[in-house]
């Protein structure tokens, strides 16, 4: 570290060069970059699968793919987008930003996070290889319900081991985040001075540590049921397939908050910046996030109202689900109140954050509709459910990630991206995402079932609209990597520390581009206090 003081040297960070820099990477920024590039690659692979789905559904009848492959596409699309795109993107952003935001030089466990990243390419090679094995890729849905999942031939054990590896990777990633946040904060960076992205990630990391192992347990039980004669879920031996659904969703519901909570954090950073006002109700945001995380553990059975459960249980899960609307409402209120009487400007990160606010709330409302037990009996397994979770995941989680990248990219590379093209990317995404998913509400309410490659002719029109939206959305995402490439290669240099004039927080006190190691000397108390909302 002594050589760091020789600031005159051009490359004073002593980066390792060539492939070693990446394979042996322990630098939080290199790791973060690798995670983000990997997530982007998976986003396009999963997106290509979605294009197959929308192409087949463009008109009724069987056109392009056989039903087995269609179901493989829906299953693989979900697994790749959840475990390959969104979760690694969050981990990548965490690795990039958390040390910068809490005043630490590095993440706490750099070797562990190197391992946790390098698991992922192997896990997804294994998962994608199932496309080429006898019997085809998993086609029983990403929820892996038995007995259907057990009937999938050679892909079954590959699916299970891939899920094991993804789980191990995200648990290790989460442990690294918790240890960094709890042990590596600069003196003076108290918990309630932390930026909300750090707070939401801390809570997300605890969720990951608590529920990913439960998924690992559930799929292990599937594995032993299939190969070693146990009967956890085999009715012939006294097991119960419904039990899998309970265990799966005990993981699965916290998982949906794992996918969305960091987006809450990012939006809570961006809206104050471009409203030029401190965040309204910082403390309430922290408590609301924690409440959502707690409630996520006691609502899982709303995913399975029709499998049969006592009336009292249905009521409990219905009401506890609706309770989540309260902390979420607090958040939506606070974001709106932050903008109230602010001097707003509409740069790309703010545009994505505003679309998030508006469209995620629509997804939240359809979620409330689905929480109502008798209504769910009608809506379950229809395109209404598909519309609901895509509204919370695409303009929710994905827009959150894009908002974060557009927000911090100038800090990462030291160059500003092409503002006009980024606005094109935003407007195309925001319009097409609605063309894509909004009609699916109508299809679902009219009774179109999900996960079926063909449909009755009365659903044709809205499916065509939805498919056009899908192709438009898919194509406009190609702008995203192009923009980033252009920014890295030939963007206009950002000369100041604060790429955005209204930005708060420690990351904006570092030079642009951010130095290879973040805070070699901890920031002073005054700098920390200046960046904090509380």
């Amino acid at each position: 570290m002594a050589e760091h003081s020789v600031a005159a040297a051009h490359d004073h960070d002593h980066k390792p060069h060539g492939w070693r820099r990446w394979v042996y990477a322990t630098n939080h920024k290199d790791i973060g970059t690798m995670y983000l590039v990997f997530a982007c690659l998976m986003f396009f692979i999963g997106g290509a699968m979605a294009m197959v789905i929308r192409a087949e559904l463009f008109k009724p009848g069987m056109q392009l793919v056989d039903p087995q492959l269609f179901n493989s596409m829906t299953t693989m699309h979900a697994l790749i987008m959840i475990f390959g795109a969104v979760m690694p993107a969050w981990t990548g952003l965490a690795n990039w930003m958390i040390p910068m935001q809490v005043g630490a030089p590095e993440m706490a466990l750099p070797r562990l996070i190197n391992f946790s990243f390098w698991i992922l390419p192997f896990a997804f090679t294994l998962l994608l290889a199932t496309l080429f094995v006898p019997g085809g890729a998993p086609a029983g849905g990403w929820t892996m319900y038995p007995p259907l999942v057990l009937q999938n031939g050679a892909s079954f054990p590959m699916l299970i081991f891939a899920v094991h590896m993804m789980g191990a990777s995200s648990i290790l990633g989460a442990i690294n985040v918790v240890v960094t946040i709890l042990n590596m904060r600069a003196p003076g960076m108290t918990l309630l001075r932390m930026p909300l992205f750090v707070w939401t990630w801390l809570i997300t990391a605890y969720l990951l540590i608590a529920v990913m192992p439960v998924l690992a347990g559930a799929v292990t039980m599937l594995l032993t049921d299939h190969f070693f004669g146990t009967t956890f879920f085999t009715a012939a031996g006294g097991g119960d397939p419904v039990m899998f659904q309970h265990i799966f969703w005990f993981f699965g519901h916290p998982e949906v908050y794992i996918l969305i909570l960091p987006a809450f954090g990012i939006v809570s950073e961006i809206i104050p910046t471009f409203s030029r006002k401190p965040l309204f109700g910082y403390e309430a945001m922290v408590y609301a996030t924690a409440s959502i995380a707690f409630l996520s553990f006691i609502v899982w059975a709303h995913h399975m109202f029709v499998v049969g459960m006592p009336l009292a249980a249905q009521l409990f899960f219905m009401l506890s689900t609706m309770l989540i609307a309260i902390p979420t409402g607090v958040k939506v209120f606070n974001w709106t109140a932050t903008m109230w009487k602010g001097s707003l400007s509409f740069e790309p990160p703010m545009l994505f954050a505003l679309a998030f606010l508006f469209l995620f709330t629509i997804g939240g409302f359809s979620g409330l509709m689905l929480a109502i037990v008798p209504a769910d009996y009608q809506y379950q397994d229809t395109y209404f459910v598909v519309a609901h979770f895509h509204y919370v995941l695409v303009p929710g989680a994905i827009f959150g990630i894009m908002a974060g990248v557009y927000y911090w990219l100038p800090k990462w590379v030291g160059n500003m991206y092409h503002m006009g093209l980024a606005k094109w990317h935003f407007w195309l995404s925001a319009i097409f995402v609605n063309v894509l998913f909004f009609p699916q509400h109508f299809l679902g309410l009219a009774g179109m079932p999900r996960r079926i490659p063909d449909y009755a002719v009365q659903f044709t029109d809205w499916n065509m609209v939805s498919s056009i939206g899908g192709f438009g959305f898919g194509l406009s995402q190609l702008l995203f990597p192009i923009l980033i490439y252009m920014c890295v290669k030939s963007g206009k240099p950002v000369k100041v520390n604060k790429a955005w004039e209204g930005a708060h927080g420690l990351e904006w006190e570092l030079p642009s581009p951010a130095p290879y190691h973040s805070w070699q000397t901890p920031p002073s108390d005054a700098i920390i206090a200046k960046g904090a909302f509380h």
């Binding site: 007995p147 918790v178 709890l182 540590i209 009967t231």
Partner: protein, 180 residues
């Protein structure tokens, strides 16, 4: 090892411990699930598979229709179903019904019938004194035979129940039999 390194290591180990604990918790959900099923009576296999001593106490003023259903877990290979589809019974009286099965798989097979009852609340009042579902059933190639179930419905069964469905699903249990 600095103080920070030690603190990091301790916290990492603690968090790994939590992860290991929740892996175990996933498996602990299995017995927990069965306990909850036992308490609520929903999906409770043990009540449906319990052999009960019958005490007859017929209530001739009440008639309940029992419907029988038979399903085969994976299509083909078996013919399986009730001999009579419905029977009218009085609560408190012992009855007998038969299911037939025909092994068309071309091999010697062991099958296990798994019962289910609807509405699920009835499980607590529907007692079996004898059932082919209590044990695995062995069938030679092409063997066919009828299998008995003897049951009695508790007269304390709620008044609004006038129809009960008893369904069996027939599973190939050849691989499981040795372990039961």
């Amino acid at each position: 090892m600095t103080v920070l390194d030690r603190a990091n290591r301790n916290l990492t180990l603690k968090l790994l411990g939590i992860a290991l604990g929740s892996f175990g918790f996933g498996f602990a959900l299995v017995p927990l699930y069965n306990v909850i099923c036992g308490v609520t009576g929903v999906g409770d296999q043990s009540a449906l598979l319990r052999r009960v001593k019958a005490i007859e106490n017929p209530d001739p003023n009440r008639t309940i229709t029992i419907e029988f259903l038979g399903n085969v877990a994976s299509a083909g290979g078996w013919e399986f179903g009730p001999v009579a589809r419905t029977v009218e019974i009085h609560p408190g009286k012992l009855y007998s019904a038969e299911f037939f099965a025909h092994n068309l798989t071309g091999r010697d097979m062991t099958a296990q019938a798994v019962p289910n009852i609807a509405p699920s609340k009835v499980a607590a009042y529907f007692h079996k004194t004898e059932c082919f579902c209590f044990s695995p059933q062995h069938f030679k190639v092409n063997e066919q035979r009828n299998m008995p179930v003897r049951f009695i419905v508790d007269p304390a069964i709620p008044k609004y129940i006038d129809r009960i469905t008893l369904a069996y699903t027939f599973y190939d249990a050849s691989s499981q039999v040795s372990k039961r």
